[in-house]
């Protein structure tokens, strides 16, 4: 793994996130996260429930707006509210625990919607020439079909999500994000909502992506996956990164008491 800064894809500096609850209480979900995610790197984030894993991941594409610090990506600080976040999100794929396929769209439409809309917008929106629009749609359709072929679900192209199994939904959610051709993929517990027999097919697809060199940040409880795929494991506790390192080092020889305790519970 290359650690020089030219290879850095996302640089997180002193990231803070404070939630305000309805009753006026505040929760410090992230407390000074510093981290660099490099091109092609696979980072797995683990830690006890409520330690801020999801919040950290969701701050990376500003699904939660950070309340302090910075996130440098694509030459800009995403934590700056003036940044056009949509432009950057095109390059940051995200996969959710609950899949979140668009219920009112077929599988094919789910995959094509964002690429088509965004490319047509760049070509002039409603003023784009019909021929250009047609071409954009056709290209997106072919990309979508080849992605579906890749996961063996091309016969589901015209089916609505409600007809799919959890594993199928999640694999489609993954290729939907891939259709944007992102520079990095964020996964928030992608297998936690799945029946056990479907976990494997989703992890296999993620391993494939990893092998192809995709930059990945994954929050998961699948320690086997972390050990096998991760270049680096980040262990969080109470909104901070407590420990990080190569999976072999971290799992076999954790340094901090908290990590030792956590690993004793999950392994």
């Amino acid at each position: 793994m290359n650690n020089n800064n030219e290879n850095a894809l996302i640089v997180v500096k002193n990231l803070q996130k404070v939630f305000k609850n309805n009753n006026g209480d505040t929760v410090q979900a992230l407390d000074g996260i510093d981290n660099v995610i490099h091109n092609g790197e696979k980072v797995v984030i683990i830690g006890p429930s409520g330690c801020g894993k999801s919040t950290f991941l969701r701050c990376l594409n500003c699904m939660e707006d950070p309340t302090g610090g910075s996130i440098f990506f694509g030459g800009e600080d995403l934590a700056d509210m003036k940044v056009d976040i949509n432009k950057h999100r095109e390059n940051i794929g995200m996969v959710f625990q609950q899949f979140n396929l668009f219920n009112n769209k077929t599988v094919l439409q789910n995959i094509m919607l964002a690429p088509v809309h965004i490319r047509i917008k760049k070509a002039g929106g409603i003023f784009a020439p019909t021929a250009v629009k047609k071409q954009i749609k056709e290209e997106a359709r072919q990309t979508a079909m080849s992605l579906l072929r890749r996961i063996g679900l091309e016969e589901k192209a015209n089916v609505y999500p409600s007809k799919l199994s959890g594993g199928q939904k999640q694999r489609i959610a993954i290729v939907r994000a891939l259709a944007m051709n992102p520079q990095v993929m964020l996964f928030d517990e992608p297998t936690s909502a799945l029946d056990p027999e479907m976990v494997g097919e989703v992890l296999d697809l993620m391993k494939q992506l990893a092998n192809e060199g995709m930059t990945m940040v994954v929050v998961t409880h699948e320690m086997g996956f972390a050990r096998e795929v991760a270049d680096r494991v980040i262990f969080m506790s109470e909104g901070k990164i407590v420990e990080e390192g190569k999976p072999s080092e971290f799992f076999d020889n954790p340094q901090t008491d908290r990590a030792k305790q956590f690993l004793k519970c999950v392994l």
Binding site: E90, F96, L101, N103, K105, L113, A114, S162, A173, A177
Partner: protein, 233 residues
């Protein structure tokens, strides 16, 4: 009272002296005001609902949300007749213009129903899984685009039956438009009655006409509802 004679009188006016034309015109105006009113209401209500469910952290959205709150409070807090009278008799005088009663009715019914539809829409939108919006935003789609392409189409399924009921109540409420000289169903039967100074039969007929319209519309709403439930699968 001689029912047979009264009915014969009514029927003479209605069938032989073009009473039915007066009625058909009234029916047309009633349906026109209710239908266009609902369409305007849907547009206005959707915009208001979309603004009201915006995330609240930007000053400008809070400003627009205040305006929407005021709008809804103003239209729900005053009687529809009062709104009609103001729009037909007061506003044109102030602005130095004049406009046909039917147009005023369409606009006021539209704006008024917009206030009610916005609440229907808002609860419909809030009933859609927030993950749908998140997925759209995470792909780089903007808030309005995700709203229009993903959230609202799903909300519509919950909303359409309620909108059908809103349409039915609009049809019934149009019976007040003769306050501003528009000639709806209600007015048309009064005119038929005026021809003989005999109102019992015309008003009975009027009631039957409204009942039939409402029953037909209720049936339609039920059919659409069943259809939507089937396409959900």
């Amino acid at each position: 009272m001689n029912w047979q004679k009264s009915f014969a009188e009514f029927w003479r006016i209605f069938a032989e002296q073009n009473g039915y034309l007066v009625f058909l015109r009234g029916l047309g105006i009633t349906m026109l005001i209710a239908t266009l009113g609902l369409l305007i209401g849907i547009v206005v209500g959707t915009v208001i609902a979309a603004i009201k469910v915006l995330p609240r952290y930007k000053k400008i959205t809070r400003f627009f949300q205040k305006i929407c709150d005021f709008y809804v409070a103003a239209f729900r807090g005053t009687p529809l007749v009062v709104q009609l009278l103001l729009a037909y008799y007061v506003v044109p005088g102030v602005l130095g213009v004049s406009w046909p009663a039917e147009n005023v009715c369409v606009v006021i019914f539209g704006l008024n129903s917009g206030a009610y539809v916005s609440e229907i829409m808002r609860s419909g939108i809030l009933s859609v899984d927030p993950g749908q919006m998140e997925a759209g935003r995470a792909l780089g789609l903007s808030y309005p685009v995700t709203m229009l392409k993903i959230v609202i189409p799903q909300a519509i399924k919950n909303i359409i039956p309620t909108l059908g009921n809103e349409y039915i109540s609009l049809v019934k409420e149009t019976s007040i438009v003769s306050f501003v000289t528009a000639t709806d169903i209600c007015k048309s039967f009064r005119e038929i009655g005026d021809a003989t100074y005999e109102y019992v039969i015309p008003y009975l007929f009027m009631a039957i006409v409204y009942v039939i319209i409402v029953l037909v519309l209720t049936l339609l709403v039920k059919l659409v509802e069943a259809r939507l439930r089937r396409s959900e699968k």
